[in-house]
Symmetry: C2
Subunit: 333 residues, 2 copies
DNA sequence: TTGTACGCGTTATCAA
DNA sequence: TTGATAACGCGTACAA
C-alpha cells in the first residue's frame, strides 16, 4: 500500500536511484530534480521503509532493552536514562518486559536477535549465567544491569547500601534488626544480605536467622512479613525492608496493630520512590542512581558496538537518605 | 555476521529454498533432509532475519504503542492489558514514550510508519485532531485511548467518574468542594470538569471558580494547590484532586499545617494506585479500568487491521472507591 | 548529473 | 521432493 521509491521514479520519469539520491541529499544531483522529487515524495505521501533500509544497511539503529518488570518504577526510571543517551546517538529503543520469568526473558533475547537489534541491555535478569555460557551464540553485544559477575555490566552496590542502613540503625541503639528479603533469586539479594551481615558482625551482633524473613517486593509481602516477625518470642525493634513498597506494607501492618512508626518500630525501605518523602511517616530509605545506571549501560553498550572491548564492570554507589521512619530505640517505653 | 539461509544451503549442498522449506515445516520436503537441515541450522547458530522476512511478507506482526508517560502507572498498566491480547495474537509491541510532547508524539508515529508497524495505539495524546485531519496519510490503522471524539477510540468516562466523587462529597454535607485540575490540555480534563460542574448544578450549588485550581498531576502540584486554597478568604472543606499523586501532596501539605484528613478536610484522589489503600489515610478514589482499556484498544486495533471498519468508540466506566480520606463535614469542630 | 545492475535475506511460484 | 527465479524496497558501485 505505501508508495515506494519506484512509484516516485515512475511519476517523475527518472530512475529509482535518482530518487534515492534526491531523498538522501546526495551531493551528485541537480538542485532542480532534487527539489522536484522531494515535492513529489511529499505530495505522494512517501514514507521510507526502515525494514528495507535495515536489510541492505545491515544495521537498525535500534537497541533492545529487556526489563524485569514494567510496573516497577525502579526499572522504569532506568529506561529514562537509556532513552536520553540513545536519543543523543540517534538510536531507538525496543522495550520488552519479561516479568521476572527467565523463559520469557530468553524469548525476548531471541526476538531481539531476529529483529537484528544492534545491542541488548537486560535489567533484572535472574539468569545472568546464560549469557556467559558459550553454547548460545549471541551476535550482538549484551550489557546486563545488576549482574556484577558478568563482564559487561553496570550495577549498584547493594552491599554498601544495606550496610549503611544497618549501621544507621545500630547507631540508633537497635540490636534486633529484622531484614525482609525478596527471595534468593533477586539479582541484588545476596549482595544486600552480605551487607546486612557485615554491619552486624562489625558491631559484634550475633546473626539471628529467625528475624530474616522472605518477602516478595510488594506491599502485601510487607504485611505478611510483619505477622511473622511480631509472632516471634522476641520481636525486632527495627525492620529493614527490601524496598519501599515492602516498607509501606510493614508500616501499615504495624499501624493496624496499634503501633506507631518510628515510636515503636524503626522501618527502613529501599529505592526512594517518588512518594517516599511524602509517605506518613516520610521514609528513611536508600536512593538508587537509577537514571544514571541507565545512562551508563547504554554508553557501555555503544562502546561494545563500536568494537571497544576494553570495558570493565561498573559499580555505582547508592545514597542513604534519613527521614522520619527511624528513631532511637530509647524512645520506646 | 549472522549465518543466513544461503550459508546453510551451501553447507548442506542444497538450494536456499529447500532450507527455507525445511525450517518452516513446509509439507513438501523429505523428512531426512528436513532433519539434517534443522540440525545444521542449530549447530551453525542460525537465527532467522525478521527484517528480511518482513520485507517480503509485507507484515511485521508488530504494533506500535505510543504512551504519554512511561513513569505514570496509569499508562503503564494499560500496557499490561495490551501485552496480553497482543501475545494471544502472536504480535509484538513496540513501545515509545513521548512525555506529553506533541512534537515527539508525531515523531514516534512517523517512526512507526517507517518501521511498517501493522497498527498504532496512542494513549494520552494531546493532539488527537491531527489523526482526523486528512492532510496526513496514515497507511495503518490508529486507535486512540481517551480521545472519545476520534472514531477509533477507547475511553474511560471521566464525566461520571468526577460526578460520583462530587456527589459523594455532597452527600457527606460538603458544599465548598475544591477541584485541582491538570491543565486544560489533559485528554480527560474537560470531561471531568463537566462532571464536577454537573453534580454541583444538580444540587443547586453555585459554581465558584476560585476553588478550581490548576495542578500538574504530581505530588508537588498538590502541595502548591493547597497553599492557594487555604489562602482563600473562604477555604473549601473538601478537595477533589485530579489523581492520587496530587491527593498525596494535598494530604501531606495539610498535615504540615497541622490539619488532619479526613477530620479537617475530606480529600479524594483518582486512579487507585497500588498504594492508595495503604496510604495514611487510605485514599477515597476512582479506580480506572486501565488493564481493560488496554485490552479493548488492542482488540479494536485488530478489528481494523482485519479490515473491519464497523468499530465505534467505546467508553468504559470507572469505579468509585470509598475509603478513609473522606468524612462527613459535621465532624469538623 | 543520471541510469543500470546488483545485493541484502527471505518466501513464493513455477518448473523440473 | 527439489531447484531456479523473481520479488519485497532500498542503497551503491559502476557505467554512461
Amino acid at each position: 500500500m505505501p508508495v515506494s521509491i519506484k512509484d516516485i521514479a515512475k511519476e517523475a520519469n527518472v530512475s529509482p536511484s535518482t530518487v534515492s539520491r534526491a531523498l538522501n541529499d546526495h551531493p551528485r544531483i541537480s538542485p532542480e530534480t532534487k527539489a522536484q522529487i522531494k515535492n513529489l515524495a511529499e505530495t505522494m505521501g512517501y514514507v521510507p521503509s526502515a525494514v528495507a533500509r535495515n536489510l541492505v544497511a545491515k544495521r537498525s539503529a535500534t537497541i533492545g532493552v529487556a526489563i524485569a518488570d514494567l510496573v516497577d518504577p525502579y526499572y522504569v526510571r532506568q529506561i529514562l536514562g537509556m532513552e536520553d543517551v540513545a536519543a543523543a546517538y540517534n538510536y531507538q529503543i525496543f522495550l520488552s518486559s519479561f516479568y521476572r520469568n527467565s523463559k520469557r526473558e530468553l524469548a525476548i533475547v531471541q526476538d531481539f536477535h531476529e529483529r537484528r537489534m544492534e545491542g541488548i541491555i537486560i535489567t533484572g535478569s535472574e539468569t545472568a549465567e546464560t549469557y556467559l555460557a558459550s553454547k548460545h551464540k549471541f551476535f550482538m553485544p549484551i550489557v546486563l544491569i545488576n549482574s556484577p559477575t558478568y563482564p559487561f555490566s553496570v550495577s549498584i552496590n547493594g552491599f554498601t547500601g544495606a550496610k549503611k542502613v544497618v549501621e544507621h540503625l545500630i547507631e540508633l541503639g537497635h540490636r534486633r534488626i529484622a531484614y525482609i528479603t525478596w527471595g534468593a533469586e533477586h539479582p541484588d539479594g545476596l549482595n544486600r544480605l552480605n551487607g546486612y551481615q557485615a554491619a552486624l558482625t562489625e558491631h559484634n551482633i550475633a546473626l539471628d536467622e529467625t528475624i530474616i524473613v522472605t518477602g516478595d517486593g510488594s506491599i502485601a509481602g510487607g504485611i505478611k512479613a510483619v505477622s511473622r516477625l511480631l509472632d516471634l518470642p522476641q520481636p525486632p525493634t527495627a525492620i529493614f525492608a527490601f524496598n519501599d513498597l515492602t516498607a509501606i506494607g510493614v508500616i501499615n501492618a504495624l499501624r493496624q496493630r496499634g503501633y506507631e512508626v518510628p515510636r515503636d518500630f524503626s522501618v527502613v525501605g529501599y529505592d526512594d520512590l517518588e512518594m517516599a518523602p511524602h509517605y506518613y511517616p516520610p521514609l528513611t530509605t536508600v536512593r538508587q542512581p537509577t537514571y544514571n545506571i541507565g545512562k551508563r549501560a547504554v554508553n557501555m553498550l555503544f562502546n561494545l558496538i563500536r568494537g571497544d572491548n576494553s570495558v570493565t564492570p561498573e559499580i555505582l554507589e547508592p545514597e542513604f537518605v534519613v527521614r522520619e521512619s527511624t528513631a532511637s530505640v530509647l524512645i520506646r517505653q
